[in-house]
Each structure stands twice: as C-alpha cells, then as structure tokens.
Symmetry: C3
Subunit: 213 residues, 3 copies
C-alpha cells in the first residue's frame, strides 16, 4: 500500500483539520470520537500485515508526519519539510506520536530538541536522522515508492508480516489503549484560554483572516 497526496500543491498532508482541535467550534463528544478514530487508525496502520510505503511530496508536518512514521518506508521529494511541529502551534505533541518519532530518530536528543521547539526539518536532515529512508527528485517519487514496495514483497509475506508485528504489536496495543485517556487530557488542554487563543490565531492565519471564530 502506498500513501501519496492527490493535492496539486507540494503538501503530503497538513495533518489534522485545526477546526477539530479548536474547542469553540467542536464538542467533547465530537472531539472524543475524532481522537479515538484517528488513534485507532494510526495504531492499526503501524501494525498492519500490509507493506506500507509513504510517497511524500513536499510538506509533511504533524498528522502527516505521524502517518509517515507508521509506515514501513518513507521516500520524500528534495523540497519539503518533515516533523512534529505541534509546539509551534501552541499545543503539545501527543505521547505516542513523540515516542514513535524518537524511536525512529537516530539521535534521540536532537529529536527531543526538535519536538520541544516545534521544528520541521528539510528532507536531507530527516534522512540523516533516520526519520525518512530516501530523498528523490519530485519526478521519481512514485517510481521510488513502487521500487521500495517491490523490495519488501520479494520475501515470503507471512514471515515478513509476522516479524513486523512481533516488533510493533506491543507499541500498537499500548497506543490504542491510551486513546481514551489521551482524549480526556487533550480536551482539557484544548479548553485552556491560551490554547484557544493560539489555535484561533492559526485558524485566522489559515483562512487569510476570513475565519469567523
């Protein structure tokens, strides 16, 4: 399975719809369902028997980054960004997103610094940190992703999938079972006045000043 963006702009995905995180525009019930659904998807993606490859064209922040980190292989275009930049938006990085990021990061101390400072890095740095596996010209993105997929499919798939799940199933289970507690903590955070203000600012900026908050 290959994840790729259908957008014409150079954006893999901008991550979560900020409206879903902006407390005045959502409800506890809606946010809880949003968070549980998303977490269930991510934890299952991490642990799927399928080979998963991410073809990343351009920007890959926040939610897009965590989708990529759940895959088996990540190839990104030369132009782009990669990382969990929640802090720059004024919110904290979800626990298992941070842990998965640091697990994949060769230099965990550098990784912690990126998370604490909400920084995105260019693909060349992400490659060096082990966060992505390959950097290519935009024109080669899909062929590189397909080649990676083929390499994984050369071996007996049952043994490959069992090995993948041996490595990942504990993390996946812990992640999924933490979702309910995380939703509660997240909702509490999203209702703090300074977070509402910060996310309101993000929405206003995204809408070019036209959002009604």
């Amino acid at each position: 399975m290959i994840f790729a963006s259908g957008l014409s702009r150079g954006v893999f995905t901008a991550g979560n719809d900020v409206t879903e995180l902006y407390a005045p525009k959502t409800t506890w019930k809606r946010y809880r369902e949003f968070w549980l659904t998303q977490t269930k998807f991510l934890a299952r993606l991490l642990n799927t028997r399928l080979v998963t490859v991410c073809a990343i064209r351009g920007a890959c922040p926040a939610g897009g980054c965590v989708v990529a980190l759940c895959c088996d292989y990540r190839v990104q275009t030369l132009e782009g960004t990669f990382g969990l930049n929640e802090v720059a938006l004024g919110i904290s990085v979800p626990k298992f997103w941070a842990e998965l990021f640091l697990y994949r990061c060769i230099d965990r101390t550098k990784g912690e610094s990126l998370l604490q400072r909400g920084l995105l890095v260019p693909p060349s740095d992400a490659l060096q940190l082990g966060l992505i596996d390959e950097v290519v010209d935009a024109g080669e993105l899909m062929s590189s992703a397909n080649s990676a997929l083929d390499r994984y499919l050369k071996v007996p798939s049952s043994a490959r999938a069992m090995t993948k799940q041996t490595i990942r199933s504990n993390f996946s289970k812990e992640w999924a079972s933490y979702a309910e507690e995380e939703a509660k903590g997240g909702w509490k955070m999203l209702n703090k006045p300074h977070i509402i203000k910060a996310l309101g600012g993000v929405l206003l900026k995204l809408s070019g000043g036209k959002a009604k908050l």
Copy 2:
C-alpha cells in the same frame, strides 16, 4: 570468554539446525526442550558476569548473529555477512532476537527493514550500524578479539560486572520468562503447511537435494 568457530570454512555458525525447526522431523516435546534450552542459554549469555567477545570469521546469520549480539564485543573478518535472515527462510524473527538486534542497531528504522526483508549485510555495513564493533583482516581476528578482552579486563571486574548486569538483567529476565510462550507460538507457526514447505526447501537445498523429507 571468546567465541570463535572451529570450522575450516568461513562460517562463524549457520545458526540453528533447521532439522530442529522442521515439524515433520521433530515433535512438540523435542522442539519445546530445544527452544527452552536455547533461550535459557542466550538470556544467561547476555547477562553473564564474564567478559564475552565474539571473533566472527565469515558468515554470521540467524542463531550465530544472536549469539554475537549477546556478547560485549564483536570483531568480524572483512569477508562475511551479519544479520537475522529468518524471513528469507520463510519463518519469523523471534521476538527478543529482533529486540536485541534493534537495540544494538544505531538506525532502528533501517534495522526493521533488514529484519522484515530477511537481509544479511556485509561487515562494513554492520559496523556502521553499530551491530559489530570492529572489522579486521582474517589473520588478525584472534589477536583483535584478545585485545578487546584485555581492554575490558583492565577495570575492577566486580564493578564492571555489576554495571553490565544493571543494564541487561531486566531484558534477560523478560527474555527467559517469555520462552515457554514463545515455544508454543513457534510450534504453531512451524506446523503451518506453507512453513513446512519453505523449511523443507531449505533442507533440500542444504543437503544438495539429498534430504529425505
């Protein structure tokens, strides 16, 4: 303690005797004892108070690789291979073998990819990944292993051994206590028709086509 191969060929050890894994040629009782004995040995090797050095001449796949990973220091000849290639044989990598491999691997994402794809790497790559500590000409293998041993023996052995066990004893205990459950899962896997077929093929190849399956 130095582990070295007595074989004249360039093979440290080829790992487990595949006959012990081939369900039609063994029994649950025999396999269980085989697995528990092996796991007990490996978990104790990891946690021994002794200084353990692995002098690896040539190929070091699967079971040979995990013996090496349990040691304090690994020196390998320029010619050779290193890794857990179970998937290439059609079987999955045992849980704690994978975890120990990934713990020693500087780039865990690259390491996961090697495990999922059943790949062995040359010693120069293994060195870069942190999986081995030194690569030498074949003629210098034993002297290099002895020098490494001497370096570890320079410090007070009680403090060295306590520090080693402080770092490794939790992992060692969890590994040993998982053996029974793992034997059950392993036996179930080894009795799947496609696994029997795959391992039968390996045995046939190893015997030059002469094995009676």
Copy 3:
C-alpha cells in the same frame, strides 16, 4: 536555567563527594538520605517545566555527567571529558544513570562499552555520540549556552513544557520510585571490603595522601 561551574579550574563538577560513598566515614541513615535527596533532585531536574541548559567547562565525570544528561541542552568547552566513570573507581553505575546515558547515546553498544570500562571521552567524541549538543571555545561557553536557552524560549512555553513532560515523566517517575531500593543495594555494595578498599584509595589519591581513613 543554566548550570555552570563557579570553579576556577576546568571542572564542571567532579560529581558526588566520595566521602559520602565511603562506608567507614558515613552511616546507613546518612547515606540513605544523601541518595534519596540526590535522586529526587535528578528526577525532578529531568522533568522540570523550565528550559535547562548545561554550560560545561572542562571535566564532567560521574555525577556531573548525569546532571548534564538531565538537561535539555549541553554545551561543552573543547578541552574536557564527559562520561560515567564509576567503574574506574571500583563502583557500579546506578541503574537510571546508565539508562539515561544509553538513551542519549546514538550508539548504545559503544555506550555500554564506555560504561562497562569506566571511560570518559573527549567532548568531540561525546558530540559525535549525541551525548552533548555543541562544543565551543572556552570564551564562548556562556554566550552559546544563552543562545541555546533563547532558542528554546522562542516557542509557547506551555506547549514546550507539556511536550517535554510527555516524553520524560514516565522515566522520571520510575527513577524516583526506585531510589529507596537503590539506596539499599548501594549501601550493601559500599560495605563490601574490596569496594571500601577501592574508594579508600580514591580518597587517599584525592587528598594527596593526607586523608585519614
């Protein structure tokens, strides 16, 4: 918050006062309080909401090293040493000190070897291993530390602090709750005749042969 040494010599801190570890010169009651207080401080330092930067001038062994590892950012002068050299003194590395060291170490196998052999490394090696973040000329130490602090303070502090604690609070809690058990084990170790002898030798050396043991 920046940690820096007020010593005129090139020593960040030599770590614990060895007298507090020398059984004939202390008591169980005193040692226990010493250990619990120290561990509580370190576990809280690791998990503080504040930005913590370590400006390390010169030598940074043992207890000084673990203070540095608890911080967000470490800058060290070109001349110096870094590491947990307990084994060289004849005692073992405390459990969570070793774990934090290995967590920050890019190459954990190399890190284990340093711990087992009680070795200190020069700042350039510590940088390459990910143990420190920056190496500078002595004259630039404080300005570099201040610049690092400023970089962390650019982002919303609430989101930064929450992310830091998301990453570190489990480790910090486990560390703090292990202190009592560790104090017991430590006291037992410190009363072994060969450890008393080894630490006595260290005290004698530190005092230039004048210590009354």
